[in-house]
Symmetry: C2
DNA sequence: GCCGAAGGTGAGCGCTCGCTTAGAGCGGCC
DNA sequence: GGCCGCTCTAAGCGAGCGCTCACCTTCGGC
């Protein structure tokens, strides 16, 4: 059904599009390091070390440390937007599409928490040009969710007094999963996705009977 | 440049308990700098400069840069916990208390966004001992909210299948306000607080009729 | 008028940062 | 074989970091 084959246990590393191999290893190492300690607290020596290379090797594949963050942020936002678009543009009622969108978006933020953390919380470390590019992607993310809610209101499925505010809250709720989700905690990404889909349907005043689609 | 006499929503600067005066000025400067650029990207020279002092003056009042963050985090969590406790322990129905708790908690995260940002997002920069102390405070925050929801379920006001998961989601929603709230944006802290209180009541399945308290 | 404590400064130490440079290793093509 | 181009390393540069030190100023108590 959904082309985005998210199967958060045993998931394929999503960086296969990054070549050559050394560049990908560096990028994966940077994602881990940025997620653990934050962009500013991560040294280029640490990144290169995690990738099994000398500090200088980083600069063969990336001009600066910031370019690494930019690439990660860009790829991550592309992926997040793709997940939401897939859910938003399937056929089905607005209730089904919103449930699908939230549960898959949350699954990604929980299951690929390291990536999501970097993507969502290190935006301010980018320079003005790169940040503007990412902010434009975020506006598209917002538009997808708002579109589903608009549809639901128009169809009489949802009762939402403030569509823009509710959109903001729904996205905020999903994104913050990347901050608190603990891989060793009691919940799987699947469970959090299901829980959150139910909570969001309540937030928009939808009928609580939503079949566990996906 | 900007005087520290911000009174966002009639609220008094909450640092009056910090003495002497120079120590308070340094602390306020550190809050601003940490919120703007993050702990690791902030230099001690920047903090001292904002407070109108030489770099060495910082070390008369604080042993290290980390102690500054620790003090800010401690005071901020104390304040957040105090806000929630006040709402949780007033008299009234669970619906009224939850509405009050969410709206006041959100008002604080929006109105005192700089402080909230540091408090909520720079936890990882603390050492193990200081972090453990703050984590204990967060557990108390969680317990206050869970207590209200428990009461509402017991009283038949709420329908909540997963109390712990819903508590987590409610707190997550409120906390993330500090990430996205924009002082120059279209919403006041009051408005966001009211919006969020309504959304949270829907999340717990409460009757939507909630009087707009205070 | 003198003293000690408290609060401040200018200079700078030792270190680590992001990044650069000179050159080595090596596979592919003529 | 000779050479090129790509990948990578060892060494290290200039800058800026957190923090310290020797010294100065102010001020209440006697």
């Amino acid at each position: 059904m959904s082309t985005a084959e998210e199967t958060t246990g045993g998931e394929v590393e999503p960086w296969e599009q990054v070549t050559p191999d050394a560049a990908r290893r560096l990028l994966v190492a940077a994602v881990e390091a940025f997620a653990e300690r934050g962009y500013h607290a991560t040294t280029t020596r640490d990144i290169a070390g995690r990738a099994g290379m000398s500090p200088a090797a980083l600069y063969i594949h990336y001009k600066t440390k910031e370019e690494l963050l930019h690439r990660i942020s860009r790829l991550g936002h592309d992926k997040a937007l793709d997940i939401l678009r897939t859910a938003a543009r399937r056929e089905g009622t607005a209730t089904e599409r919103l449930s699908d969108a939230v549960s898959s978006f949350v699954r990604w933020h929980a299951g690929r928490r390291t990536t999501a953390r970097v993507v969502q919380y290190e935006l301010d470390a980018l320079g003005p040009a790169a940040r503007a590019e990412i902010v434009a992607l975020r506006r598209q993310v917002d538009a997808e969710v708002r579109g589903i809610i608009d549809d639901g209101v128009a169809a009489g499925e949802f009762r939402v007094p403030d569509v823009q505010g509710t959109t903001l809250a729904v996205l905020s709720l999903c994104i913050d999963v990347a901050r608190w989700f603990n891989v060793d905690g009691p919940r799987t990404p699947e469970e959090v996705g299901t829980l959150y889909a139910g909570l969001v349907l309540r937030m928009v005043g939808a009928e609580p009977a939503a079949p566990a689609q996906r």
